[in-house]
């Protein structure tokens, strides 16, 4: 069987709620192994909520989410992680009572082929330098690096990344693009929420555009050229 | 209220440290008196209500207030813990209702805070000191240390006892005050130990006494010093380790096994309550009986009239022996100096005291203060 055609995530008719408010109104999307797919949309369109819904971190969900062949609707969040899903939240979630290194080592290894600590420090030298300081004492950008590094180490092979370029210096953003391409080549599957379209466009295979909790458009990398107008109208550029 | 209908409220400690001494048992004893009296006075049934003072003056005061102001209660009995009794008598004195004090010890109710509406029954701190302390000082125990319950009763007991000690050539080498309901007396015991006294006096009551005695034993105080429990009720004696407490002398207003009369009443009480009576239980019965007799004789429930009637007739029953109800509200009667039996000497679990001597009321209690004579 062709590995690159294995379905890693399939979402059917997903609805999600925070308390009383209905945020996602029937999302359908699929990710194949080795794909890098972005979720685009304006602020508040429900992109982060989609990622959280996959992790079972929203108030209430309905519909179907299949990860690596298992139905995750009845699963608790920690079980989902062990299917090989790594989540990098938009607020970064660095633990202040843990040192940088403790933060890095915190997530349990969910698969054996994660990046080694050496590789990670090589990629983000800032972290090596500050590894004994308290997690939240890092600068905004350093925290962002740590948040990403953390899940790379755990060996997750389905990455849910929420605005990872936020607050990073342009050089680092460029480096991150290279990293993501590398990860993709290793066969990891990536669902990326991004504002920075210039960052996402060259590396993504497909784009989903969200608005008001719906997926309103699906655009393959190859169609990008011809659909620029449409996209701009959705994103308000 | 003078409505010709007698309603007695028993305000006691239903669940606290003194519950065994004057709690539900005081209600039982009062009810026995009412039943023995015939259940009716002035042709109307006698009513009885009761409440838990929780040993808190404010709660007791509020209940008493409600009883006399809006529930037509004539007389409040029970009344254990001087703090509670003090607060309740404030109310009853003002409202002109009779308080039948059967559990409290402070002598203040017939001295500083005396009032024409108070009947102080069972015993008081003076009687305790005159019994136990005087005897021990006489035996040559000159140096005393006090572990005192930190409220009106403890303070009064300490003061009165100290006076007795000094008057008889003894000396008080120190004292320490422990809050009511202290469970760990170890640090007080250490202070007592360091004082070099001959006798450590426990100017407290109820479980405080039991706990203090336990700590004293645990820390080896009993090896070098004597302990005097100044106020020990029969329930407390039963709760103490007989090997430790055996031989200790104490003063009491009543012992169930004194004579046929006491035994007969106590047997009836035990059938109803499951325990032998404490002096407070017997006092509650005696006081209620005397009160009801006076109402009957006076033909009214007017407090002033009834009180006058109570003071003109001498109380006389199994409890009130050689008794007199004085103008200041003090009921003077014979007290007993007893010694706690060692476990080996006891026939059964209720056989706890050896009666050493009967202290005539006139010796046990202080004379009446002139300004407190309300008998006119």
């Amino acid at each position: 069987m062709n590995a690159s055609h294995r379905e890693k995530i399939r979402i059917n008719n997903l609805h999600a709620f925070y308390g009383e408010s209905h945020i996602l109104h029937g999302i359908d999307l699929t990710l194949m192994q080795g794909e890098l797919v972005t979720l685009l949309g304006r602020n508040g369109s429900g992109r982060s909520t989609t990622l959280k819904a996959i992790m079972n971190m929203v108030g209430k969900r309905s519909g179907q989410i299949v990860v690596n062949g298992s139905d995750t609707m009845p699963m608790q969040a920690h079980r989902i992680a062990h299917l090989g899903v790594g989540f990098c939240p938009e607020e970064r979630g660095i633990f202040s009572s843990l040192s940088v290194e403790e933060n890095l080592m915190l997530p349990p290894t969910v698969r054996s082929d994660g990046m080694s600590v050496e590789e990670i420090y090589q990629m983000f030298p800032n972290l090596l330098e500050r590894r004994n300081s308290q997690g939240t004492r890092l600068s905004g950008g350093e925290q962002q690096m740590l948040a990403l590094a953390r899940i790379l180490r755990s060996g997750a092979n389905i990455l849910l990344l929420d605005e990872i370029t936020e607050g990073l210096a342009p050089v680092i953003v460029q480096k991150l693009a290279e990293v993501l391409v590398q990860l993709k080549q290793r066969g990891l599957t990536i669902l990326l929420v991004e504002q920075n379209f210039r960052f996402a466009a060259p590396i993504a295979d497909r784009h989903y555009v969200m608005e008001h909790g719906h997926i309103v458009e699906e655009i393959a990398a190859s169609e990008l050229q011809q659909k620029t107008e449409l996209l701009n109208s959705y994103l308000g550029v | 209220t003078t409505d010709g209908k007698v309603k007695i409220g028993v305000l006691a400690d239903m669940s606290g440290t003194y519950a065994d001494i004057c709690g539900p048992g005081c209600v039982v004893a009062t009810q026995m008196a009412i039943d023995d009296f015939g259940g009716k006075v002035l042709n109307k049934p006698i009513e009885l209500i009761s409440a838990d003072s929780q040993l808190k003056p404010d709660i007791a005061s509020a209940i008493a207030r409600r009883w006399v102001e809006s529930e037509d209660v004539d007389t409040i009995g029970g009344l254990v813990s001087s703090a509670v009794t003090g607060a309740v008598t404030q109310v009853t004195n003002n409202s002109k209702n009779i308080a039948l004090i059967t559990g409290s010890a402070s002598n203040g109710f017939t001295t500083k805070a005396c009032s024409p509406y108070i009947a102080h029954w069972t015993y008081n701190v003076v009687a305790l000191a005159n019994g136990t302390v005087k005897t021990m000082v006489g035996e040559g125990k000159k140096k005393w240390f006090f572990i005192t319950a930190d409220y009106a009763f403890g303070h009064a007991l300490e003061t009165v006892s100290s006076n007795v000690i000094k008057a008889n050539g003894g000396e008080v080498v120190g004292s320490v005050r422990a809050p009511l309901g202290t469970t760990d007396f170890s640090s007080y015991v250490l202070q007592a130990q360091a004082s070099g006294a001959d006798v450590v006096a426990l100017a407290n009551a109820g479980n405080d006494t039991v706990n203090a005695l336990n700590a004293a034993t645990e820390f080896g105080l009993t090896e070098s010093m004597d302990i005097a429990g100044l106020l020990v009720f029969s329930q407390n004696t039963k709760a103490m380790d007989g090997n430790v407490a055996g031989g200790m002398k104490l003063t009491t207003g009543f012992y169930w096994d004194l004579n046929d009369e006491t035994r007969a009443w106590s047997k009836r009480f035990k059938e109803k309550h499951g325990e032998i009576p404490s002096m407070a239980h017997a006092g509650a019965y005696s006081a209620t009986m005397h009160y009801l007799n006076a109402v009957q004789k006076a033909g009214t429930d007017d407090a002033d009239v009834v009180m006058k009637q109570m003071k003109t007739t001498k109380p006389n029953d199994f409890f009130a022996v050689n008794a007199e109800f004085r103008g200041d509200g003090r009921m003077v009667h014979d007290m007993l100096l007893v010694q706690i039996k060692k476990p080996a000497e006891r026939k059964d679990e209720d056989d706890i005291y050896k009666v050493l001597k009967v202290i005539p009321g006139s010796e046990a209690y202080n004379p009446m203060l002139d300004e407190c004579n309300f008998s006119r």
Binding site: - | I49, A51, D52, A62, R66, E69
Partner: protein, 307 residues
């Protein structure tokens, strides 16, 4: 704003109530309602939970009581002095406590109140476990004799109305606006140049003063001040009243106090006395689990949804 009709109706009930109900009970109820309203000013409108409000209630009671016993002051002056004493204590404790937030604030106030408790337990003037007994009511302004319970009740009613008005005014004042802002977003209020600690502190002092006002009044009603009023159970009770009635609502504390005081009164006399704590505890648990907006909060919700 407050519903005028409701207010008039309540006032009418307040004025007529002693015809039907034992006035001392009513007076007690109003004292606790004022106490709870003072507490609610902090919890409901500043968003801080004081677990030591008994300290102020007790201080008001003791100071007022001591002055009535030991000086020739008329009751209104003694009550004012008690209120000031509460405010002063509130100023000191507030200074220490407002540095901390949330649960920390609760713990610090609790511990400070316990400190106060032990001081009052030891201090000779309070009468320790015996309480301060036989506080005379004397005559208001030297003219109106308060020994009659009904007269006393009307004084309490007047004091309660004043306290209630002051709280309502505070909430709807420029100061109240800032408090609201602080509750909404504290760091932002700081960055706008508001010295947040000072505002919280002032609210704390006002609340402490009103609690002491309730305590001073109560000591006159019962002619007694005791450790119960300073004990931490009392701090818990006032939370219960507020919670049951509705945190952050104007009338919640009144409703809560009415319910709790009635319940206590009903239970403490009779056979059910033993169950008092069990029932109170259960009410607490139920409120927290499924009734967080309290009686008044629920009524408001009901009204919003149905009218």
């Amino acid at each position: 704003m407050i519903n005028r009709k409701l207010l008039i109706a309540l006032l009418a009930i307040g004025l007529l109530a002693p015809l039907a109900v034992y006035p001392v009970f009513l007076a007690k109820l109003l004292c606790f309602a004022l106490f709870a309203a003072a507490f609610n000013l902090l919890l409901g409108f500043v968003g801080i939970l004081s677990f030591g409000h008994a300290a102020f209630l007790g201080t008001g009671g003791y100071v007022t009581g001591w002055l009535m016993l030991n000086s020739g002051l008329t009751p209104e002056l003694a009550i004012i002095a008690g209120t000031l004493a509460g405010a002063l204590l509130g100023a000191v404790y507030g200074k220490l406590a407002v540095k901390r937030e949330g649960i920390y604030f609760a713990m610090v106030t609790l511990a400070l109140a316990q400190l106060t408790f032990f001081i009052y337990l030891q201090a000779p003037f309070t009468g320790g476990e015996d309480g301060m007994q036989g506080i005379p009511r004397r005559a208001l302004f030297g003219l109106i004799d308060l020994s009659n319970n009904t007269v006393m009740y009307y004084l309490v009613l007047a004091i309660f109305c004043f306290g209630f008005w002051l709280i309502n005014r505070t909430i709807h004042s420029p100061f109240g606006q800032v408090l609201k802002a602080i509750r909404e977003n504290e760091p932002r209020a700081i960055s706008l140049g508001y010295d947040v600690e000072k505002y919280k502190w002032l609210a704390f002092v006002i609340s402490a003063a009103l609690a002491a006002l309730a305590g001073g009044t109560k000591s006159l009603v019962f002619e007694l001040a005791s450790l119960t009023d300073v004990h931490w159970h009392m701090s818990g009770e006032v939370i219960l009243m507020t919670l049951v009635g509705g945190v952050g609502t104007l009338f919640g504390p009144l409703a809560g106090a009415a319910l709790v005081v009635t319940m206590q009164n009903y239970l403490s006399g009779g056979e059910l006395g033993n169950y008092l704590h069990i029932i109170m505890g259960a009410v607490f648990v139920i409120c927290v689990l499924s009734f967080r907006s309290g009686i008044v909060g629920q009524l408001q919700k009901f009204k919003r949804n149905n009218f």
